[in-house]
């Protein structure tokens, strides 16, 4: 058994990303979609941190980017939850399929 290396982290990140993307595509509940978004972001985060760890050229940048993304995710969650709350006030539901006013 080989030691844990960069490939493992990258596979973990890709798995997280795909899980998040599938979650976004399949969930009808808006909270579930937001969770999917978090998964995608964290999959990306794992990549940044892994590259920071294994590639000395990106040591600082990778960590700072990861921190940025965490802050970004927090802000995004705050805004998105506010939208969802308003959406709920208007439609008495959080089902994203009922938001179809933008349909062409």
């Amino acid at each position: 058994m080989s030691p844990v290396g960069l490939e493992h982290y990258l596979v973990l990140g890709a798995v997280l990303f795909v899980c998040g993307a599938l979650c976004m595509a399949n969930k009808r509940n808006a909270i579930g979609v937001l969770m999917g978004v978090e998964l995608v972001l964290n999959g990306a985060n794992i990549n940044f941190v892994a590259f920071a760890h294994y590639n000395p050229a990106f040591e600082i940048e990778g960590q700072i980017f990861a921190l940025f993304i965490i802050v970004l995710a927090a802000a995004e969650a705050a805004v998105a939850l506010a939208i969802v709350l308003n959406f709920y006030n208007n439609h008495m539901t959080v089902d994203v399929d009922s938001a179809e006013e933008l349909k062409g």
């Binding site: 976004m24 399949n26 938001a99 349909k103 062409g104």
Partner: protein
Amino acid sequence: MFHELQEHPGLWFVAATLTPLASFVLLLLAGGLRWALRPARESDDSQPLYQFLSGSQTHRISAYIATGAMALAFLFSLVGAVNYAAHPAHEPEEHSRLWAGHLDWARISVFSPSGSQAGAWEPEGAGRASVLRLGYHIDSLTIIMFLMVTFIGGLIHLFSIGYMSDELEPIVEDHQVHTETGHFKRRGRFGRFFLFMSLFCFSMLNLVLADNLFQVFISWELVGLCSYLLISFYYERQSASNAANKAFIVNRVGDAGFILGLLIFWSYLGTFNFQEIFNQIRCPVTNLAGQFAERAGEIVRANPLVEDREQRRLQVTDRGQGSEVLLFPIAPAENGDKQEQPWHGPKASEEVLTHVNPLSNQYGSMPYWLLVAGGLGIFLGCVGKSAQFPLHVWLPDAMEGPTPVSALIHAATMVAAGVYLVGRCYPLFAPEALLVIAYTGGITLFVAATIAVVMTDIKKVLAYSTVSQLGYMMLALGVGGWAAGLFHLTTHAFFKALLFLCSGSVIYGCHHEQDMMRMGGLYPKMKITALTMLAGVLAICGIPLFSGWYSKDAILAHAVGFTWVYPQHLLLLLLPLVTAGLTAFYMFRMWLMTFAGRPRDEHVYEHAHESPWVMTVPLIVLAFFSIVVAWGWPITDPEASTLESVLHHSQHASVAADFGVLPEDLELAAPFQARADLPQVGKLAVENHLLAGAMTTAVGALGIAFAFLLYYFRLLEPAEAKAQFPAVHRFLWNKWYFDELYSVLLVRPALTIASWCRAFDAKVIDSTVDGLANVTMEVSRWAGKFDLGIIDGLVNLTARVIYGIGDRLRGVQTGYIRSYVLFLVVAAIAIFGVMVFVVSRVIAK
């Protein structure tokens, strides 16, 4: 300013001319103010000042201003006349320094010779064709015209204050204009009347004052305008507006000739100034050495010998022959060599060098026929203004204007302007032109007198009498009686103004009744008017010691002298002689029908009354002058008239040269008298004056006797006489059918041509325009189709294609977040796929 007047006493007359102009401007401003204040007057709560300015009080003041201006003008003229008598100027230079002046009014650089630059003007004389001048030149004729116009004009202004008093009312009812709701009502026009009268007086004085033909022409048109405005004073009456148009249009015919004459003389002589024109056409009386020139005062004619571009050689011919007229230098150079100067009065068959563009000390020439034509052109203007045959038709119709206008403009002054101008331009007329003038006058005086015999409208009788008397004046001028014609002009102005004012007083007293058939027996009702009118009637009939006697006898005397010299023109004696009898007959007929006998219309008689003093005072003054104005000492000697001898002072030497008529105190009378070859009209006229006087008095007495037989003693009934000769009466009653003749010859053809033009316009021009419009419409219809079908179709097609594409693409936008995420993922995978399969291969290469 007073110093100026002492230096140039002629300026007194300029002041007299400008006074009525000032009155005109003042009245015009006042009229504008009244017009502006009219709304204020009509509202009740207006200021008292407004009420005053716009009320009838200011209306009345306008008359006082105009009358005062005339009085002032008369005063100025009188002062000028006294100055003239006190400082007689013998030398021409001294005369022109004291009594003439001019200012340049307009310069025309196009005509400046030798291509000088604008601003750099030629010295005096050389570029004179390029300058139009305003100026004055005073001689005794001017002074007499000034005194006459201002004096009679002032009296007529005074008379008008009374005669026009109806116009003071805020609302005037015109009984001769009918509308659907009764008589026509309008505002009073008192101020307007005096406004026009002031303008007229200014124009007339300016005409007399002018020292050049162009200024005369301007004034000529201005008096014509005033005449037009005043004839149509009651312009709501159809007859008045027609009469005004007729007067204006007939005068245009004459003025066309006037303009042609002006152009001929201007193009050949290069000046409008009277003195300069006469100096060029007529041989000077003395040559440079001061000797009497052999052909003094004559038109010197010549035949061309050699023609060159710049100069031609002429051979001077005898009197009355030759195709060219020799033009004399205006003035020789002051300090030139006198031997070189050609100003000596050439002898017959001498050869003379003339120049195409003569300088001030060289001879020029012009064709003789153009001299005759130019003279006849100017005379045609005078024919129109002085109502001579064949343009006399406007004057009787002009009696539609108020009676003071008839008296001032259409009897005393404006219509005499034609006679004045013929007299003023006398040296311009060649013998042929003078003969035309004489015959025109002869025909006019006879035709007009015969018509006057049958007229029953009191003003029409006087109008035809005016035409007839103007004919006398023209005849006098034509036969060489220069002073006699202008003498008659002056006396006629007095007694004809008197007669018209008397008729005005009768008309006013009879409440605007003009038909003599409804008058009669008015003597006890209006004694002053009747007696003053009798004075005028006696004067025009030529009763001894009345003013008309002196002047008419002088005319007849010259006619006798003329026919003595030229027996083939006997008609020029017979016509005025017969007409003297006719004149006496119709004037007494008028007086007797108006004042004597039994009243024909009780209604008119009942209401007749004498006029107020503002009207009778001018009558009395004019009657006094109608009697005494021609007196001399001794008063029984017709040759001794002071007025005539004063007029003789301004007679040009050409009258002496053409007719041998010599003023007694002409300085160079002796050499003229010594010439046996001159026609002895003047000498014969003096010799036969008594004969002529006896003949006219006898014929006149016959006419008066006939008038008394018919209209006073009733030995013959006028109605029977009428019934005896119905054809003659109808012919005269219709005024020799002149109006009908002109209607057939001129008016109808003009109307026919006009209707043809209208038809041409309606048919050809309009249909062309319509056709063009139709073509345009057809073309634009096709263009419209192209626009709608092809251009709009292309635009719509583009829009439709884009719409279709958009419609197809609409389905992509499902609105489901999940499907968007799916697209995102699919797209990302696709991009990865592309990168893996394409980009990696590219990199690998």
